[in-house]
Structure formats: C-alpha cells, structure tokens
Amino acid sequence: MNDALLSLVTPLVAALIVLTGPAMTPRRASVVVLLGSALSFVAALLALQSVTTSGATQTLNLGGWEDGLAIRLRLSPLSALLLAFTALIHLLAGLYARFSRFTSGDDFWVLSAFLHTALAALWLSADLFNLYITLELIGLAAVAMVALSGPKAYQAAADYLLLSLAASMIYLLGVVFLYSEYHTLDVIQLGTVSADSARTRLALALITAGLMLKGALWPLHLWLPAAHAGAPAAVSALLSAVVVKGPLFILWLAWTEVAPADLAREVGPMVATAGMIALVAGGWAAMRSPYIKVLVAYSTVAQLGYALMALGLLMSWQIPQMHIALWLFVIAHGLAKASLFMAAGEMQGTLGTRRLTGLRGATQTVPIAMFAFAVAGGSLIGLPPSGGFLAKWVLLEPILSQPQNWPWAFGILLGTLVSAAYIFRVVVLAFDRATINPPDTRPYLMGHWLALLPALIVWGMALLGEQLIGLLAGGGV
C-alpha cells in the first residue's frame, strides 16, 4: 500500500513544487514533472509486485477511522496495473510535450501533474463519494488542459465543463439515493448489503447516466470530438488515453460490485448493445470526418464501444474472461490512442493543415509520424500480435464457444471492419505520392519518434500477454 500511496503523492508533490518553486521556468517545470511521473511509475510497479506476490487486496482507512466512517482506499492488482498504466502514459505524453517542437503551453506541466494525481486517487478509491470528488478533480484539470491551446478552444472547454458538471451532479444524486437506502458509501460494504429494489434501480440508473455522459460512452458522446480535437496533441493523448477511462472504472465498480448480480444480468445486454452501436456509429463518423484529429477523436468513441461491450457481457454472463478483455482493451486503446494523437499533431503541424486531404504523400514527407499512425492504427483494428489483438482474442473466445452468441460476434466483426476502413483511409492518402502536399517546415524528428514510442509498446504488449492475463485473472478484484 505504501508504494501505491507514493505513486499517488509524487505527482502531487511535483505539481506543488512547480507551482511554488522559485524561478520556475517551463523547462525546469518539465524536468520536475517528468521526474515525478517516472518515480510514480516505478512506485506503481513496486505496488503491483507487492500486491501480486501477497495475492490479496490491501485496504487502508484514511485517518484510522473505523469502517463506514473512513474514506477507504483499496489496492487490488487491477488498480495497481492502472496506476502503472496512468504513470506510463503521463511519462510518454510528458516526454513528447517536452521534446516536440509544437508547444503544449507553459501550464501543461502543473495541470498534467494534477490530472495524474486525481486519476491515481480514482483507481485507489473504494468510496462512492470520494470517487465523485476525484471525478470532479479530473474534470477540472482536463477542462483547463483543453483551454491550453488558446482562445479558439475556450468555447469547447466551456461546453465540456458544463456537461462534466451536470454529469457529476447526476452521479452524485444516484450516490445519495444509494446511501439513503443502505447507510454506507463504501463499495465493499455496499456489495454485501445491496438488494434489488426500486430505489436501488433508480440510483444505479442515475449513476450510469452520469458516468456515461462523463465517459463519452454512446449515446452520450457528442461533446468528445470537439473537446479532444481542440486540445494540443499531448493533451488530446492524455484525454483519450486515460481521462475517459476513469468514469468507465466507476461504472465497472458500480455494476460488478455494488449492484446485485441479478440486476446486472438483466441490464448487461443493454450495455453491450450500446457498446455495439458505439462501435459502428463512432467508426462511421470517423470514416466521414474531413479533419485528422476529429477522425482520431471519433475513433475513441468507437473503441470505447469495445470496452462497453465487454462490460455488458461481463454483467450478463459474469465470466472472468470479459473482465480480462475489458481491461486489456482499456490499456491497449490508451497506448495506441496516445500514439495516434501525437502522430496526428506532428503531421498537421509539419504539413500545415488540419484537413485529412493534406496528408497526401505523408509516407514521403513525414514517414516516421505516418508509420506511428499506421502501427497504432493496426492495434486499434486488432491486427496480431498487437495489444488490441490480444484484447479482442480474449473477448471473442467465450463468444465463439456458444453458437447462440453470434450477434455479438457479428457486432465485433462489423466494428473491426469500420476501424480498418478509417485507418486505411488515412494510410491510402499517405501513400498517394502523385500529388504530394509539401511540408511547411523541415520535420523535427524527435517528436515523430516519441509519437512512435507508445505504438511500439502496444505491439510489445503481446509479449507480456500471458502475464497480463494472469494478473487480471488472479485479481478478479
């Protein structure tokens, strides 16, 4: 537990040093925050090791208060894995923001460190109200980061903030109804006492609606493309890779631990259907988008459909494979999407256009960034041996073993086709060397290589596949 707390506190300390330290230039701030992320990553790995070797979930009541009154923190293998994942993404995005020529704004450093702290607190919380607080913290940091790209993004940031505030109010109302019925906010205690009643159903409906709005899960995703496409590249990478996964984590907690199993079984198919529609509708919108970053943002909506589908099937079948598939998707998508956004940022900066048609001949003018885009896209489609393939394999296995599950398999097939369509649409344009769009500036390759890094890691996930599956399987929660 101490390692996990260290992983939580390091980014907070880094943010405070950046805020209060004397003569803090953006350059020094970047060093402090990058060191913080690296240290947080190491601490998260140590926490992961300690929780897997002891094999038991560790809990801590803050302030030493008794159960029920205390805010409870919980370190499970899953939360340790997510801690490490968050720190890794922050490290990669930070390195990119530091060395790319396209600036992310001077305040990027302190805000990203705050965002990192809030996310780490979310993975460790086991208390519904504390989860509300972390959601608000994440929302505020994320909105401020969207506004980093200057006055033209203020409108998108303001809309994002309003929706985010409304969503957390709806979630909070649901939490209050749960408390009024069971007199506890602790996830572990709620799981033992919750029963199927009208008030529980209302509470869970409110919680689900709020979280789906906050996590941009279909059909409440309409705010996402404007916010994610408007932000600087490093910020978009963080938003799509980790921020939308926070509400998903709480949704998973609410339906697998708090909700009674029978109710979850009843609602599961609806959630899975929403995921399937998200896959197709998001992919379709990505395929038709004329702008590079909007395409990538809609692809987030589509890819969250896989996660939602895995969650829905986990709820209705209650089998551990779906749990593994859900979190493999989250990690594979996070890494791939970070790479896609950074590569998109590099390409549109170097080629001087936000339009997709500007990518003509990108294999010649910005070869490394384009390679990163294609490699990361391969993981989104699910080409072997990438992380995306691993997740899809685990998801498909139980579906294919029962013939009556064919509609779900069909949905996944359709989603894969659409993903392939929008990725190949970009790749085909990039190979069009007849009418090249010449770059505005000489490419500065450091940023391109850093954009490639997360994509290489996601393809390397296949090497760790067995350990990851074992980790997620052993730690049901």
Partner: protein, 107 residues
C-alpha cells in the same frame, strides 16, 4: 431536536426532485452558457436538498450526509467560478474574432 415527520420529509424530497428536474430541463433547453450554468447550480441545490432531507430522517440528524453536503458545496462553488471565467473568456475571444473578421471585410 427531534426527527421530522415522514410527511414533511416527503415534501422536502418532492421540492428537491422538482429542482433537479427544473435544472435538467434548463440544461437541455437553454442555449446561453451562463443560463445553463445556473441551471446546473439549480440541479445541485436539488441534490443537496435531497441529502439534507435524508439526513433528518433520524435524530440526531445524520452527520455524514451533512459533511458530504459541505464538501459538495465547496466543489460546486469552485467549479462555478472556473466555469464563469471560462464562459466569459470564450465570449471575449468570439467577439474579438467576430470584430476582427468584419474589419478585414470592410477593408
């Protein structure tokens, strides 16, 4: 202080539900961002009133719910302040862009 009668708690809860619905309606229908922010705050008042009403079901009132309301208020106030500043900045930038483009058109 004794706990309130069930009827009056139901009255408070009905008012709270009405506030939440009003806020939600405003959020969906209104276009002006400051009005939408006020609508969200009305929703927030409804949520907090629900918590206070539930707290009074017992004697003495449930201190945990009171603590949650205080925390929630702090979050709501900070978020509202941030949202107001952001909405104003967005309006200023939009007006600057609009006046900039008309000037170039005039030329």
């Amino acid at each position: 202080m004794s706990s309130l009668a069930a009827n009056s708690i139901i009255l408070y809860l009905l008012v709270a539900v009405a506030l939440v619905m009003l806020g939600l309606y405003g959020l969906l229908v209104l276009k002006d961002p400051i009005r939408r922010l006020i609508a969200i705050n009305i929703m927030g008042s409804g949520t907090f009133l629900t918590m206070i009403a539930f707290a009074r079901r017992q004697d003495p009132p449930d201190p945990i719910l009171h603590a949650l309301v205080v925390t929630g208020l702090v979050v709501a106030i900070s978020a509202t302040a941030f949202a107001l500043r952001l909405i104003l900045a967005a309006r200023e930038s939009r007006e600057a862009a609009a006046s900039g483009s008309t000037e170039t058109e005039d030329e």
